[in-house]
């Protein structure tokens, strides 16, 4: 066990995978000698050589497209997109290609690969260094979408993603890179994809969240507890494929639901959670299904703290559904 930050846990996962499997390789912009702009790939080129951890030209389309070709031919690429905001030039390769290759070839060709990328706000990055684009990808059958919120999960989920037979988009909450620390087992272990994590037990209100919103919700839950409201917090961890039964069970447990994410509300991932419940468990609901999200605007810079859901807003929603 080591006490690591989330970004150190990611680094540890990459090293663990590369040590145990020679077909794993890491590439992207500035992931080599510089070690990545967040140091997630620090030391990899040194330990594994330029052939297994290297910088690419400035083309996300190229990074993801090449990763697909490598995966097709037996390597296990773990590529990095420097910021999730810059993934869109690769959107076609991800959505049209990686996600659909197995299907369209009748299983003859597959692309098991991981795309790692930091997402979310909280670093004063403005419009283009702060976005949470998970919903864009979760609407894409064939893709898996994973978001850790603790160092332990970051390592375990990333190792599971690298071993997964399907393409995985691994979104890392950059606001938590250095803000959270926790015990991380040495060596290889996996956290199964598509399993929820119960962060806190509670019988009054269920809050669904993931990534950087988990500690925010925890903070709100503590304040709620002071008012006698006990919050059941579910960290979704794998957004696609989602453990739908688990979500419904957790929703039924309290009959009062809040969904929290940083991304804009409209057509955000929260809508799917609400819709799922409204379709399969509406008779259990004793209050509106509330969403606390980023606003339906681009991500601002100076006022980002007003844009991102915080404990004030989450608590407000918890109280709202509780008192309904």
């Amino acid at each position: 066990m080591a006490n690591l930050t989330l970004v150190q846990a990611v680094n540890d996962a990459l090293k663990t995978a590369m040590r145990t499997d020679p077909s794993v390789l890491v590439f992207g912009e500035d992931v080599g000698p510089k070690g990545g702009v967040f140091l997630a790939t620090d030391g990899l080129t040194k330990e594994f050589g330029e052939e297994r951890c290297f910088d690419t030209p400035l083309s996300e389309d190229g990074i993801v497209g090449a990763a697909i070709g490598m995966a097709v031919n037996g390597l296990k690429p773990v590529c990095e997109i420097q910021f999730q905001d810059f993934i869109f030039p690769a959107f076609d390769q991800i959505v049209s290609e990686a996600a659909k290759l197995r299907y369209r070839s009748g299983g003859q060709y597959t692309a098991p690969m991981v795309i790692r990328t930091p997402y979310g706000g909280g670093i004063r990055g403005g419009l283009y260094h702060s976005q949470s684009g998970e919903a864009y990808f979760c609407h894409t059958p064939g893709l898996k979408v994973v978001i850790p919120s603790t160092p332990h999960d970051a390592k375990g989920l990333l190792l599971a993603s690298i071993d997964d037979p399907d393409p995985v988009l691994f979104l890392e909450p950059k606001a938590l890179y250095r803000a959270v620390k926790g015990e991380v087992p040495e060596g290889k272990y996996k956290v199964d994809l598509s399993t929820l994590r119960t962060v806190r037990e509670g019988k009054s209100v269920t809050v669904f969240c993931y990534g950087a919103m988990v500690p925010v919700v925890q903070k709100a839950a503590e304040q709620a507890a002071e008012k006698g409201i006990e919050t059941l917090i579910i960290d979704l961890r794998t957004l696609l494929p989602l453990d739908e039964e688990g979500v419904l069970d957790a929703a039924k447990m309290t009959g009062r639901v809040v969904v929290v994410h940083e991304a804009p509300r409209f057509c955000g991932f929260g809508a799917e959670i609400s819709a799922l419940i409204a379709e399969n468990a509406i008779e259990y609901m004793e209050a509106p299904i509330a969403r606390v999200t980023g606003f339906d605007t681009p991500f601002p810079n100076t006022l980002e703290h007003h844009y991102m859901p915080d404990d004030r807003r989450v608590l407000d929603a918890i109280e709202h559904v509780y008192n309904y």
């Binding site: 390789l25 389309d61 097709v72």
Partner: protein, 372 residues
């Protein structure tokens, strides 16, 4: 060989002036026969489409020499990342018409389980003929990734990435060419310049002197060849393949040819192609050209073509009948192969769908006319 002067090998009289194709007579005849088999497959698909038995096809008339010449430079252990117009490469390497017909009909025996449109083939043997995608250019950079893996694994293979003149404007071309050159990846880029991207002529596609010259932007050799000359295409591809195999990195080959018809069965080229052009290029027919060479080698006489073509037609016809008689893919194929394992939510949707079909019968199939 240069990026702006057209390389030809077969002279008007069939002479090849000292060039040694390094192919046995049988191999030369295989090249020839493959071109005729492409034409037989094309002609049959055209008829099938016109009579409404398949929805769509992509004709190859005029461009057969490019496909076959390039394919002839590859070994079975190499990889092909084809475009939808490249099934001549598959035929050359031994994919059978029946395998292709199952795709044209999208039936239960189609390797891709009827999920893709016709001509979107995918084969893993006898050669790796990568699953064709509709989006233009995406496979070019993927081919480079596969080539990188070859290099990393120290395998002696090469990758051929084939695309059209229109494909050079795509994102995958730009990233693919760039990454390949920086990585010195064992890949050969074949731009089949048939002078049209559907209705867009080359002068609206690019202002460059040639397509081959685009290699300069990436620091790799670029070669312009006569795409209607099978041996010229073979020569250029062979050199590029050998260089790639030796670690010399990628090459861009432009094969200049002409699409002797519509873009697809849904296209009417008379709206945009001047008639004279067809007449001009008819004379440059790649099969005629190769016949002159074969004749000079005494491998060909006036009855050779009909014999091979007719035999090919029999094969293709039989394949079409077999495919047509093959049932549709099972309902289950909608839900499998999305992931390695079927996740719960997809399983549930499948079950609901089977249940509905049981309760309310089959959905209605529509006429399936494809407009492009």
């Amino acid at each position: 060989m240069t990026a702006t002067e057209l390389l030809s090998v077969i002279e008007p009289d069939g002479a090849i002036n000292g060039y040694d194709p390094k192919l046995s007579d049988a191999e030369l005849m295989h090249c020839y026969a493959t071109m005729l088999r492409v034409r037989a497959f094309d002609d049959t698909c055209m008829k099938l489409q016109r009579s409404g038995r398949i929805g769509f096809s992509i004709p190859n008339k005029g461009v057969e020499a490019t496909q076959v010449g390039a394919a002839s430079a590859l070994k079975l252990t190499d990889w092909i990342f084809p475009s939808y117009r490249d099934f001549g490469m598959a035929l050359y390497h031994g994919v059978s018409p029946i395998e292709m017909m199952h795709n044209m009909f999208g039936d239960a025996l189609d390797a891709a389980k009827g999920r893709q449109m016709p001509v979107h083939f995918s084969f893993v043997q006898p050669i790796k003929f990568f699953s064709i995608s509709s989006p233009i250019g995406t496979h070019i950079i993927q081919a480079v990734g596969t080539a990188y893996a070859i290099k990393q694994k120290k395998e002696p293979h090469v990758v051929l990435a084939s695309f059209g003149d229109g494909g050079t404007s795509s994102l995958g071309f730009h990233s693919g060419m760039n990454f390949a050159a920086v990585w010195k990846a064992p890949v050969v880029f074949l731009c089949q310049n048939n002078q049209w991207a559907i209705s867009c002529p080359s002068d609206k596609q690019t202002a460059s002197e040639s397509y081959a010259i685009k290699a300069k932007a990436y620091g790799m050799p670029g070669v312009l060849v006569d795409g209607n000359d099978l041996l010229a295409v073979r020569k250029a591809t062979m050199e590029a393949v050998e260089r790639a195999r030796k670690g010399g990195g990628p090459t861009l080959i432009e094969a200049k040819t002409f699409r002797m018809g519509g873009h697809s069965t849904s296209d009417d080229p008379s709206r945009y192609v001047p008639k004279e052009l067809f007449a001009e290029w008819e004379k440059k027919d790649p099969i005629l050209r190769f016949e002159k060479f074969l004749k000079k080698r005494k491998l060909w006489n006036d009855s050779t073509r009909a014999a091979i073509y007719d035999a090919a037609m029999v094969d293709v016809d039989k394949a079409a009948k077999t495919a047509e008689a093959t049932p549709r893919p099972a309902l289950e194929t909608i839900f499998s192969d999305v992931y390695a394992d079927v996740p719960a939510h997809i399983r549930k949707q499948g079950q609901a769908s089977f249940d509905l079909a049981r309760r309310k019968g089959d959905a209605s199939a529509g006429d399936g006319a494809f407009p492009l």
